[in-house]
C-alpha cells in the first residue's frame, strides 16, 4: 500500500495546518489570514474543526477537518452478531438513538423478510417522533444559545427532561435506549406509559408557543438569522443536503411521506417547506416540524393497535421469559440465539429513514452467516457539512456560528 509508487501525494500531518495557504491580494500588501475554529469551540457542537481563510471579518474559504470522534463503528459491527449491533447504532447519533435503532432493525428485517406486528410498528413511530422532538429541543436550545439568547436553552431542556424520563421509563435508559430489536421491541411498554406520553404532548404545543414568544418576534434573533447562510435548492441537492435544511431550500422531500416505512403511510401530517433557503427558514421549518411531530404522536396514541410487539420468528426473536421457564423449545432457541446468533440470508439492502437531521441510511451486506459482512451508515450531517462553503463563503465569521447551528450537526454520526 504505502510502497505503491502510484499512490497520490497525501499531505502529511504537519501540512494539515496549512490546508489553506493564505494568499496576498494582487498589488496590495494585504494578506488573508488562516484561522482555526475548533476542535474545542463551544459553537461547533462537538469536536468539529474548521479551517477558515479570512479577509478581515469576511470568510473566504471554509475547510472542515473531521475525524476526531472516529471510533470505527463500521469495523466493530463486522465482529458482532447481527443482534449485537443494535446498541452500537445508538452511539452513532446520541440525540436520536431510536431513529438509528429503527433504520438498522428495518434493514435487517428486510434482509430476513420478517413481518413486524402492527403494534410494534406504531410504537416505533411514536418513539421516533418523540426522539425527533427531543433532538429538535436540543437543537433549538443550543442554536439560540449560539446566537446569544441564553434563556431558551433552559426552557427547552425542561421539556427534554420529560421526554428523557419517558425513554427511561420505557427502555431503562435515558439516552442510549437500544429499545428496538430485530423483529420488534425489547419489552412491552409499562402500564402508565401511554398516559405519561399523553400528558407530555398535551403541554407541548403551548411550550412551543412559549419558545416562539421568546424568539420569533425577537428583532436581534431575527436579524442574526434572516438572509444568512443562503442555500439554493440546486446547491442543496448537489451538496447532498437532506432533511430540514433541504426542505428550507424549497425541495419538498420527506422520506416519511414519500418512501414510507414502519406504517408511516397511515399517519396524516404535513411536510413543512420554505423557499427562503436561509438560516431563518431552517428555524421556521424545524419549529413547524415539531408541531407536526406532536400531531403524529397524538394519532399514534389514539390508534395504537393491540397485539404482540414481537414478530413470530422464534429463530430470530428472543422468547418471553415465562415461556423459557415452561417450554423446552423456547429455552433452546434462547440458548442458540444468545450463543451463536442467527443466520441472515445472503444479500444486501439499503434502508433509509428520516432522522431529525435528514436521511439516515443503513446499508447492510450479509454473506449468510451470523455476523454482518458489512454495515455502512449514510449520515445526514456528514453530507450536509459539504455545503458549509456555499453557505458561509463571503459572509462574516459570526454567521459561520449561526450556519453551524442551523444545520444541526452531531459529530458522533459524522465521524462514526
Amino acid at each position: 500500500m504505502a510502497d505503491n509508487p502510484n499512490m497520490p501525494e497525501i499531505p502529511g500531518f504537519v501540512q494539515t495546518a496549512t490546508l489553506i495557504t493564505p494568499r496576498p491580494e494582487d498589488g496590495s500588501k494585504d494578506h488573508t489570514m488562516v484561522l482555526n475554529m475548533g476542535p474545542q469551540h463551544p459553537s461547533t457542537h462537538g469536536v468539529l474543526r474548521l479551517v477558515l481563510e479570512i479577509d478581515g471579518e469576511t470568510v473566504i474559504k471554509v475547510v472542515p477537518d473531521i475525524g476526531y470522534l472516529h471510533t470505527g463503528i463500521e469495523k466493530t459491527c463486522e465482529a458482532k452478531f447481527w443482534q449485537q449491533v443494535v446498541p452500537l447504532t445508538d452511539r452513532i447519533d446520541y440525540l436520536c438513538p431510536m431513529t438509528n435503532n429503527l433504520a438498522y432493525c428495518l434493514a435487517i428485517e428486510k434482509l430476513l423478510q420478517l413481518e413486524i406486528p402492527e403494534r410494534a410498528q406504531w410504537m416505533r413511530v411514536l418513539l421516533n417522533e418523540l426522539t425527533r422532538l427531543n433532538s429538535h429541543l436540543v437543537w433549538l436550545g443550543t442554536h439560540a444559545m449560539d446566537i446569544g439568547a441564553l434563556t431558551v436553552f433552559l426552557y427547552t431542556f425542561r421539556e427534554r427532561e420529560e421526554i428523557l424520563r419517558i425513554f427511561e421509563h420505557v427502555s431503562g435508559q435515558r439516552m442510549m435506549t437500544s429499545y428496538f430489536r430485530i423483529g420488534g421491541l425489547a419489552l412491552e411498554p409499562p402500564l402508565d406509559f401511554f398516559d405519561s406520553v399523553q400528558s407530555l404532548i398535551n403541554i407541548l404545543p403551548e411550550k412551543i408557543d412559549e419558545y416562539e414568544n421568546l424568539l420569533t418576534g425577537n428583532p436581534i434573533f431575527f436579524n442574526r438569522l434572516k438572509g444568512v447562510g443562503y442555500l439554493s435548492a440546486e446547491d442543496a441537492i448537489a451538496c447532498g443536503v437532506t432533511g430540514p435544511p433541504l426542505r428550507a431550500s424549497g425541495v419538498d422531500w420527506d422520506l416519511r411521506r414519500d418512501m414510507p416505512y414502519s406504517s408511516y403511510e397511515k399517519f396524516r401530517f404535513e411536510v413543512p417547506i420554505s423557499n427562503d433557503g436561509d438560516v431563518w427558514a431552517r428555524y421556521v421549518v424545524r419549529l413547524r416540524e415539531m408541531r407536526e411531530s406532536v400531531k403524529i404522536c397524538q394519532q399514534a396514541l389514539d390508534g395504537m393497535p393491540e397485539g404482540s410487539i414481537k414478530a413470530d420468528a422464534p429463530h430470530v426473536v428472543l422468547p418471553d421469559r415465562e415461556k423459557m421457564k415452561t417450554q423446552m423449545e423456547a429455552l433452546i432457541y434462547h440458548f442458540k440465539i444468545v450463543t451463536e446468533g442467527f443466520q441472515v440470508p445472503a444479500g444486501e439492502v439499503y434502508q433509509a429513514v428520516e432522522s431529525p437531521r435528514g436521511e439516515m441510511g443503513y446499508y447492510a451486506v450479509s454473506d449468510g452467516t451470523a455476523k454482518p459482512y458489512r454495515v455502512h451508515m449514510r449520515n445526514p450531517s456528514f453530507a450536509t457539512l459539504q455545503a458549509l462553503q456555499t453557505m458561509c463563503g463571503g459572509r462574516l465569521i459570526a454567521d459561520v456560528v449561526a450556519v453551524i447551528g442551523s444545520i444541526d450537526i452531531v459529530l458522533g454520526e459524522i465521524d462514526r
Binding site: 502510484n6 451538496c239 441510511g361
Partner: protein, 164 residues
C-alpha cells in the same frame, strides 16, 4: 414484496419499463455488466471505466440525488472491491444501486465528483478506509484517520488485534 430477479436478462425483461435501465441501455449498451432485483431493490453492476458516464446518464434521466458512495471488500475473491453507489430520484420516488468492481492491484476508479459534488466526502472516506483511489477527485485526502496512518482499516485483511 415482488419476486426476486437474479440475472441480467431476467431484470431487463421483468423491469423493461424502469427508467434507469432504459436510459443506461440506450446511452451505454455495454455498460451494464450484470443486474439483480432482490428484496425490492434494483442493483446494476456497471463496468468500472464507464461509471462516470453512467452516473451522468442517470442524473439526466431524473435520478437527481446521490445518497451514498461506499465500498465492500470481498477479499480474497477478485475483483476485490465493490464500490457501491446509491442514487435516488425525488420525482420517481425510486432508488437504484450501482456496483463497480475494482481489482486489488492498484485499486482505482473514476471519481464522480464532476457529476455530483457531494461525492467528495464519500470518496475520501472510501479512500481512507478501503484504499480505493478516485481519478479526478479534487482533493483525495484521508478524512477520518490522521494523515500519517498506515493501511486502510475497513479492508478485510487489516489486523484487528495485536500491535500493528
Amino acid at each position: 414484496m415482488a419476486e426476486a430477479l437474479l440475472s441480467k436478462d431476467a431484470v431487463f425483461e421483468g423491469l423493461a419499463h424502469n427508467v434507469a435501465i432504459q436510459a443506461l441501455r440506450a446511452a451505454h449498451p455495454g455498460a451494464v455488466v450484470n443486474a439483480k432485483f432482490d428484496r425490492d431493490e434494483l442493483t446494476l453492476v456497471i463496468a468500472p471505466e464507464q461509471i462516470r458516464a453512467a452516473c451522468r446518464t442517470l442524473q439526466q434521466a431524473g435520478y437527481n440525488f446521490l445518497e451514498d458512495v461506499t465500498c465492500v471488500d470481498w477479499y480474497p475473491t477478485e475483483p476485490r472491491f465493490q464500490v457501491t453507489y446509491h442514487i435516488l430520484s425525488h420525482k420517481l420516488k425510486e432508488r437504484v444501486r450501482l456496483h463497480a468492481m475494482v481489482g486489488s492491484i492498484d485499486p482505482s476508479i473514476e471519481s464522480i465528483t464532476a457529476v455530483w459534488p457531494s461525492a467528495n466526502f464519500y470518496e475520501r472516506e472510501v479512500w481512507d478506509l478501503f484504499g480505493v483511489r478516485f481519478h479526478g477527485h479534487p482533493s483525495l485526502r484521508r478524512i477520518m484517520l490522521p494523515e500519517e496512518w498506515e493501511g486502510h482499516p475497513l479492508r478485510k485483511d487489516y489486523p484487528v488485534e495485536g500491535y500493528r
